[in-house]
């Protein structure tokens, strides 16, 4: 069996880097129309870690991603992303920071008047004086990562929901961002397509060591990510050998009534005695 990607050295590096989180929420609160959605939440995302965020509908999961990206401003608290306080930055200054972050939206949010090629190349074409020929290679590479090279000349309306989600991932990763934010990437998809997308997220985590926040309703997706690693030799997701379960940089965060009720790894989640959490994961 191929060796799991997390070696001792990798884990040591991961521990060292965890001292400097790529995302840090500090006592963040936000309310919409008088209803408190997030109530003084604090958590950190370590470099190279993938953290899955759970909670019932309307619990503020997607809001966390939009806050991290500076698309929304909190009512109070501070959010540090790659060392910068996004709550204090002007919109003009945030654009530079956002170029280091990739986001996969819940409904893909592909530009419907652009082809798949133009959608995926959007960031490269916007960033500098590059021609369409120069972006062809990275576009092909990015689409090959999500196994959708053949859709390059199609429009988003011609793709299925799962394909659109994969194109959105290709668009998010084309510049190899330091952080990836996934908003319900498997929501509403069939089990086979969901597994394909989970595999892509695991590949991004284990091959490119990208730090990620993942909002999802599907607990099984996060458990799959915690119990598997991406094997470069077979180019497939493989189960971790016994004794290595949970030895991947995968965290869990559970929200309830605007507060974080759990923030830890799969071992801590399994050992948790909180009744609500036991019920949630059962």
């Amino acid at each position: 069996m191929a060796a799991p990607p997390i070696t001792f050295d990798d884990r040591q590096t991961s521990t060292e880097s965890s001292r400097s989180p790529v995302i840090a929420f500090d006592d963040v609160s936000i309310a919409f129309e008088g209803r408190t959605v997030l109530d003084g939440i604090s958590f950190q995302l370590a470099k190279g870690e993938t953290k899955a965020i759970f909670g019932v509908a309307g619990s503020g999961k997607s809001t966390i991603l939009k806050l991290a990206l500076g698309l929304m401003k909190p009512d109070s608290g501070h959010i540090h992303v790659l060392g910068e306080d996004v709550t204090q930055m002007r919109e003009e200054d945030l654009f530079d920071l956002r170029r280091k972050i990739g986001m996969v939206f819940q409904e893909s949010a592909l530009f419907d008047s652009l082809t798949v090629r133009e959608n995926v190349a959007f960031r490269l074409l916007e960033e500098g004086d590059v021609t369409e020929e120069e972006v062809e290679k990275p576009v092909r590479e990015s689409l090959s990562f999500v196994e959708l090279e053949k859709t390059v000349d199609m429009f988003p309306s011609e793709l299925s929901g799962g394909m659109r989600r994969r194109v959105a991932i290709a668009r998010a990763i084309i510049t190899h961002p330091e952080i990836l934010l996934y908003d319900s990437p498997t929501g509403g998809l069939d089990p086979v397509t969901s597994t394909t997308i989970v595999q892509l997220i695991v590949k991004q985590r284990d091959v490119y060591k990208t730090s990620s926040l993942l909002v999802t309703h599907r607990l099984q997706d996060a458990f799959t990510m915690a119990a598997n690693y991406f094997d470069r030799k077979t180019n497939q997701m493989q189960p971790l050998p016994p004794g290595m379960r949970g030895e991947v940089p995968m965290g869990f965060l559970i929200l309830r009534d605007g507060k974080i009720i759990f923030d830890g790894d799969v071992h801590e989640l399994a050992a948790c005695r909180d009744e609500y959490i036991r019920e949630y994961i059962s």
Partner: protein, 260 residues
């Protein structure tokens, strides 16, 4: 139905005016900031300018013809039919050309901008654009504003000329006014201030059409119904604003030039 307090309504209106002012200000300020989206400007100029050409040609021609038709009878009563060229010329260049073209382009493009941007908002495409490090104000709003201002200026000139041509056809073929005499009087009556007034208005109207259309588009909320509402509001608001600004501009310029 829930009652909303007058203070809340006033607050909402003031906030809307503030947001609109910010959008309008930034759309102009972005002209002096990089990146400048020339390709998008050209694309919008084609959509707004070339796309609006058929309706501008038709309305310009008909308005000029109708103006000549309606005024000819009155002028005939006073034996002043030879002045018809002057009347059509001043009416078209100073007032009807800019306003009819403005209203036509508002109906076609303000609604188009509101629905396009509104759809992008409700499908999170605007958020996606921001997330990808691109300023939607620079990429979407500024090119539309610049293109509309630029193209409406030329569309108005076309409309004025076609209005004069339509008036000329009616005058010559229905009222037997000499074709050359018509054009001579139409040309000679025009003064610098008439032309200035006629060409300043499309610049203001173009700005109103694009900023109002974009504002209602980016403020759209509530799915497809919200987009429909934004589209209607954009046309109504831009048309009303055009009429109001037209009145104010006319009065202002008349005062400046001590009009005859």
């Amino acid at each position: 139905m829930e009652l909303i307090s007058p203070t809340e309504i006033a607050k909402e209106k003031i906030e809307a005016v503030q947001d609109f002012s910010v959008l309008a200000g930034r759309s102009v300020a972005n002209l002096f900031r990089y990146p400048r989206y020339f390709a998008d400007m050209m694309q919008q100029a084609d959509l707004i300018g070339v796309g609006s050409l058929p309706i501008v040609v038709l309305t310009g021609l008909s308005i000029g013809a109708e103006l000549a038709l309606n005024s000819a009878n009155t002028l005939q009563r006073f034996g002043s039919l030879s002045l018809i060229g002057q009347l059509v010329s001043v009416g078209m260049v100073r007032e009807l050309g800019p306003i009819i073209t403005g209203l036509m382009v508002a109906g076609r493009n303000s609604s188009g901008m509101a629905s396009e941007l509104g759809s992008m908002v409700v499908t999170e495409q605007i958020d996606a654009m921001r997330a990808l490090g691109t300023d939607p104000m620079k990429k979407l709003v500024t090119p539309r504003v610049i293109s509309t201002v630029f193209m409406l200026f030329f569309l108005t000139i076309i409309s004025d000329l076609l209005g004069l041509f339509g008036g000329g056809l009616i005058s010559t073929f229905l009222f037997r006014v000499d074709w050359r005499q018509y054009w001579n009087s139409a040309y000679q009556i025009l003064m610098f201030q008439d032309v200035l007034m006629g060409l300043l208005k499309p610049v203001l109207f173009g700005f109103i059409i694009a900023t109002v259309g974009c504002y209602y588009g980016v403020s759209a909320r509530g799915g497809t119904q919200g987009v429909g509402r934004a589209t209607t509001q954009a046309v109504v608001a831009s048309s009303v604003l055009i009429l109001m600004v037209d009145l104010l501009t006319t009065k202002f310029l008349m005062a400046i030039f001590s009009y005859r």
